[in-house]
């Protein structure tokens, strides 16, 4: 579709652009103490965007002369991103860490981040892949280092910028080799040219793929590209940690699925991909081993943590591992499982981080010691945190169980060569039980019982309920999620 025609189908992104500009101007016109108003601009803007996405034509087409696509798959991720941004924006008003700072830029940057994530979910061109990943990365760097008087936040920002720039440089080199092999930046033309390559190009293709995998792996914090994750997650403002662990990860999976599914697997399973079999490298096994390493490392290191925030950072690495388990198979059924998992993961992980924020606002700390006896002092927090921990472990009747169930069943139906992945995944869930239940134990069985009850602020209670209810509800009645994912499983495919 040509550029002018595309604008008609590009409304959600255009609205976000207007929201970003409005937020900037509003921020200029108000005092520091009132900068929360910019948050309202963002929240209202995102709601309008969500309506625009919801009412968009359900057509499947490419926009801007094959730069990005509009398909139900991208729409699914866009709605997921808006949902997580809304929850995080509302909690950002309540986060005491941000009180000393002007929040105008904070909300503006969140808006730009949303725009970048939208493009990530829908790009089908190497140039757009790079631009969208960089937009998301650069905004995340600033947000991670937003608390500029806090040395830990500075350090998180610096580490993030160094790792981020380094891995996107490596990915870019991979993209340039891919461009060199095929002479095009468009996914579909690349796919066609790769099919016509002979064996002499296989070494270059392996190198390109490994480098691209490094860039994508960094976005979803997969081992061995995860080094930034714990440090950045610990140092960044907690609202941003919560956001980074959900929205960019979801978009990272979107970009990986689209890339491997469309460039190499041609819409089929990754194991059957012809252009990959040319390279003599067992790609499904390599990705499987990376997935196993990711979740095992995440779980084993999470056990040793003192700080709950850092423990949740490692736990989010482990969860990326569970989702990656499904990548080696990469049939339509495993994509489906990953998408279901992402929905469940959004609620439970955001919820757990929101509890950390509530507790930090009250006690000023985020280590296990600060949670002693908390379950009796703040019963509501105790109960919802227990629910989130149950769900992150993957026990029924919670959303986490349903997510894991879909991943494992997709693996088993993928064939007997994937059984071991499911078994290792099961063992890992048992390991994770230990540290998730440590939180519950500390909250209810340790420390003195205090007689006075403390209520969290109403807004926080509301947001916690908004995450806790889906975690519980989708554990019992998950049909709405599954139906939504089912209807979103349509990719744009160009035949040439």
């Amino acid at each position: 579709m040509t550029n002018l025609q595309s604008l008609d189908l590009f409304w959600p992104e255009l609205i976000i652009t207007v929201v970003i500009l409005t937020a900037l101007i509003v921020d200029l016109c108000i005092e520091k103490s009132k900068s929360d108003v910019v948050g309202w601009v963002l929240v209202i803007g995102l709601l309008i965007t969500a309506i625009a996405i919801w009412n968009q034509d359900k057509t499947t087409t490419t926009l801007f002369t094959d730069m990005i696509v509009l398909d139900p798959f991208a729409t699914f991720f866009k709605l997921l991103i808006i949902l997580s941004t809304l929850l995080v924006a509302v909690v950002s008003w309540q986060n005491n860490e941000l009180d000393e700072y002007r929040k105008g830029e904070y909300f503006t940057l969140l808006g730009i981040l949303v725009l970048g994530l939208f493009l990530m979910a829908s790009s089908i061109d190497l140039i757009m892949v790079y631009i969208s990943i960089e937009v998301v990365s650069i905004m995340s760097f600033i947000l991670a280092g937003y608390l500029k008087l806090d040395t830990r936040s500075n350090e998180a920002g610096l580490k993030y910028v160094v790792y981020g720039a380094f891995s996107s440089g490596i990915m870019l080199f991979g993209l340039s080799i891919l461009f060199g092999l095929t002479g095009s930046t468009n996914y579909f033309i690349i796919q066609k040219s790769l099919a016509g390559l002979d064996g002499s190009a296989s070494a270059a293709l392996v190198m390109a793929l490994l480098m691209i995998l490094a860039g994508f792996g960094y976005k979803i914090s997969a081992v061995p590209f995860h080094f930034w994750t714990p440090d950045v997650y610990e140092g960044a403002p907690t609202t941003i940690t919560a956001y980074l662990s959900v929205a960019p990860k979801a978009a990272g999976f979107a970009i990986i699925i689209r890339f491997f599914h469309q460039v190499f697997a041609d819409g089929g399973a990754l194991a059957d991909a012809e252009s990959l079999s040319m390279t003599d490298v067992p790609w499904p096994e390599i990705i499987g081993i990376l997935a196993v390493a990711t979740m095992t490392l995440g779980n084993l290191v999470a056990i040793q943590q003192e700080s709950i925030k850092r423990m949740l950072a490692y736990s989010s690495v482990a969860h990326a591992g569970y989702m990656m388990l499904a990548l080696p198979v990469l049939s339509i059924q495993t994509v489906y499982a990953i998408m279901v998992y992402l929905v469940m993961y959004l609620f439970m992980n955001l919820g757990a981080f929101f509890v950390v924020i509530t507790v930090k606002n009250k006690t000023g700390g985020e280590t296990f010691d600060d949670y002693r006896g908390l379950g009796w002092e703040m019963p509501f927090i105790g109960v919802v945190m227990t629910l989130f921990m149950l769900s992150l472990t993957g026990l029924p009747p919670t959303a986490g169980f349903i997510g894991k169930f879909y991943i494992f069943s997709a693996l088993i139906s993928g064939g007997s060569q994937y059984y071991w992945l499911a078994i290792v995944g099961g063992i890992n869930s048992v390991i994770s039980l230990y540290y998730y239940f440590h939180v519950v134990k500390v909250m209810f069985l340790e420390g003195e019982r205090k007689e006075t009850l403390v209520q969290p602020p109403e807004v926080m209670s509301g947001v916690l309920l908004a995450t806790a209810i889906p975690v519980f509800l989708f554990g019992i009645y998950w049909n709405p999620v599954v139906n939504w994912v089912q209807n979103s499983l349509i990719f744009y495919v160009q035949t040439m």
Binding site: E155, F179, G180, G183, S184
Partner: protein, 101 residues
């Protein structure tokens, strides 16, 4: 005289490797950023080389966008380094180790 594609790619690979080694072995945050710039410039060189080989402008457009984004990235990176330097009086990444297991 037309430079063969192989030479361009070899030069680009060499530059890229120098950049990677710089990032891995230098301890000064500013030098690390310069090494990252070297990596990105290596990529730009490769893209221009391929672009001429295929006689298409896609690669050259890519180069412009890479340059823009690299500039943005370094601007943000330097800002973060300055914020850190104000609080810690160091840019040596070995001394920046508050966040640890």
């Amino acid at each position: 005289m037309i430079v063969p594609l192989e030479h361009v790619i070899l030069l680009s690979l060499a530059l890229f490797s120098i950049g990677v080694f710089g990032v891995l072995f230098r301890r000064n945050a500013i030098t690390i950023f310069m090494s990252i710039e070297l990596m990105l410039n290596a990529v730009n060189l490769a893209l221009v080389g391929f672009s001429r080989y295929y006689d298409s402008v896609d690669g050259q457009v890519f180069v412009f966008l890479v340059m823009t984004l690299a500039a943005a990235e370094v601007a943000v990176g330097l800002a973060i380094i300055i914020a850190l330097y104000r609080n810690r009086q160091t840019v040596n990444i070995d001394e920046i180790n508050l966040l640890k297991n």
